[in-house]
């Protein structure tokens, strides 16, 4: 198998697995209980909190553990919007957010909030000035994705965050695809809220975190016991939290080494595809991108058809079109970048990981040459 879908999920790092095991076995205590095995669980969680905080330049008590990126986004947006409702009802976000933000905003719209979806240019970039122009006296919250899951395009977060800070608006960023791929420091980008997720950086699924800058107004969305500073009720998933922090720590500390390696592999993939296959376009090519992601349109052939041919060769990638999920709409991200319906439908995303090799990249390119040839022979559209 050649696995090139690391933006979907990553395999568990062996060291992370080892770190988790004791908390699934002998250290099973409820971290809120009184006795020794409970105190061990508590200590592990607080140690994890410290580690996770260090990864993004935060303080330990600014980290709340959640069930993943989606819950972090929900807590950030619903929590801040509800806490600030009396101050205003306007929220600014972008047109290329992950569905966890997009659909949460649409839900808040039904609750009476006004949402502005800021567009992107053909490179997938938001213009910070565009955001500034849309701020009103009612604006309480801004949410901008750090790095896009489909294209890997990195937004000018420092500029956007500075505007929010200047105007006294709470700033959230969905950094699920950024943490572990590029350096992310909450102070550099003036973030008040930042979502990240364990399984995107070789940690376990079902665990994430939300950074909440001290004194940020926020109300919980899950109510119950006094866990996680009263912001996220529910007995802590000790093993997952330990795994999350271990994975974050390994990913962030190996960034300097991994980042050029990823970029070299990604560039090799793109260069060879461009050299050998006609009618190919790399989306977001002229914008800053995370080093592992490549989003490519193969004109006149359907993305899902490429994916199935790749799957038959045991190569895992993902499609830019939501048609793989049975929904015929094209990707909202690619549409926002101005791609035609047909180009959006012809897109495949390759997201590389640390275990990928040059040989795997070359085999993938060979497979793509064959697949593109085969599908273009069938295609009713000429390149």
């Amino acid at each position: 198998m050649i696995y090139l879908d690391h933006n979907a999920t990553t395999p568990l790092h062996p060291k992370v697995f080892d770190a988790m095991i004791p908390y699934l076995k002998e250290h099973f205590g409820n971290a809120s209980s009184y006795y020794r095995i409970a105190r061990e669980a508590r200590a592990a969680i607080e140690n994890a909190r410290k580690k996770a905080a260090e990864c993004i330049g935060a303080k330990p008590d600014e980290i709340v553990f959640t069930s993943g990126g989606t819950e972090s986004d929900n807590l950030a947006l619903r929590g801040a919007a509800h806490a600030l409702r009396k101050k205003g009802n306007h929220i600014i976000t972008s047109s290329i957010e992950h569905h966890a933000v997009l659909n949460t905003c649409k839900n808040l719209e039904k609750e009476g909030f006004n949402i502005t979806f800021v567009p992107v240019d053909s490179n997938g970039l938001i213009d910070p000035d565009d955001i500034r122009k849309r701020i009103t006296s009612e604006t309480i919250l801004m949410s901008v994705i750090a790095a896009n899951n489909e294209t890997g395009v990195i937004q000018p977060l420092s500029d956007i965050g500075a505007i929010a800070r200047e105007k006294g608006i709470i700033f959230h960023t969905d950094a699920v695809q950024a943490v572990g791929k590029i350096p992310v420091q909450v102070e550099t980008i003036s973030a008040d809220l930042l979502s990240f997720s364990g399984h995107k950086f070789y940690g376990p699924k079902g665990v994430g975190a939300l950074y909440i800058r001290k004194d940020t107004p926020i109300t919980p969305i899950l109510t119950g016991g006094h866990h996680e500073y009263n912001l996220r009720a529910g007995t802590e998933n000790t093993a997952a939290i330990v795994g999350f922090a271990e994975a974050a720590s390994i990913a962030v500390s190996s960034l300097e080494e991994m980042s050029p390696q990823m970029a070299a592999l990604r560039d090799r993939l793109e260069k060879r595809i461009m050299e050998t296959i006609d009618g190919v376009k790399i989306n977001g090519l002229n914008a800053p991108r995370v080093p592992n992601t490549s989003n490519i349109s193969f004109s006149s052939i359907d993305g899902e058809s490429i994916l199935l041919h790749l799957d038959l060769k045991d190569i895992c990638a993902s499609s830019g079109s939501a048609c793989t999920t049975g929904s015929p709409e094209p990707s909202h991200v690619l549409s926002a970048m101005g791609l035609t319906l047909m180009d959006a439908q012809s897109t495949v995303r390759f997201s590389l990981g640390k275990e990928n090799t040059e040989d795997e990249i070359d085999l993938t390119v060979e497979a793509l040459i064959e697949i593109a040839g085969k599908l273009r022979k069938i295609s009713s559209i000429t390149v």
């Binding site: 006149s300 899902e304 199935l308 041919h309 793989t324 015929p328 022979k377 009713s380």
Partner: protein
């Protein structure tokens, strides 16, 4: 949850399970190609506006029977496989028989298609009916001459 995922793939979230027949028609589509104006006497070009799939179809009708059929298609695996299956079913049929072909016949021929991909199977049959219409109109104008 005791349902067998292979029996009802559509109940198992967005993952689409294609069966072997469908994958075979996708990997080795039958009757792919084009026909020239001289070779074909029926042609259609149709697209599915909901998902951007497109199909071109050529038929050659001799003595009221489809003796040759060729297609080209831009689309997902469901669209390619159902186009291929449609040509297999249509080849050799009389015009009247071909007109009676439905998307259900194509789906049955493929041994089933995921629920959310059913709209793809309409493309092939739609193209066939349009090509037959084109043939019939050509026949009318030919006879007038």
């Amino acid at each position: 949850m005791d349902a067998n995922p292979t029996e009802s793939p559509q109940q198992w979230g967005p993952i689409l399970f294609y069966n072997e027949t469908l994958i075979d028609h996708f990997s080795n589509p039958r009757n792919v190609g084009e026909m020239t104006e001289d070779e074909a006497n029926g042609y259609s070009l149709i697209s599915d506006p909901s998902c951007g799939d497109q199909m071109k179809l050529w038929i050659k009708v001799v003595a009221n029977r489809i003796v040759d059929i060729k297609f080209k298609s831009f689309g997902c695996p469901g669209a390619i496989a159902s186009s291929s299956m449609m040509t297999v079913l249509a080849r050799g049929k009389t015009i009247e028989e071909a007109k009676r072909l439905t998307d259900d016949d194509v789906i049955e021929g493929l041994g089933g298609i995921p629920e959310r991909k059913k709209h793809c199977s309409l493309l092939g049959v739609g193209a066939l009916h349009e090509a037959i219409k084109d043939y019939e109109q050509r026949e009318i104008s030919r006879k007038k001459k």
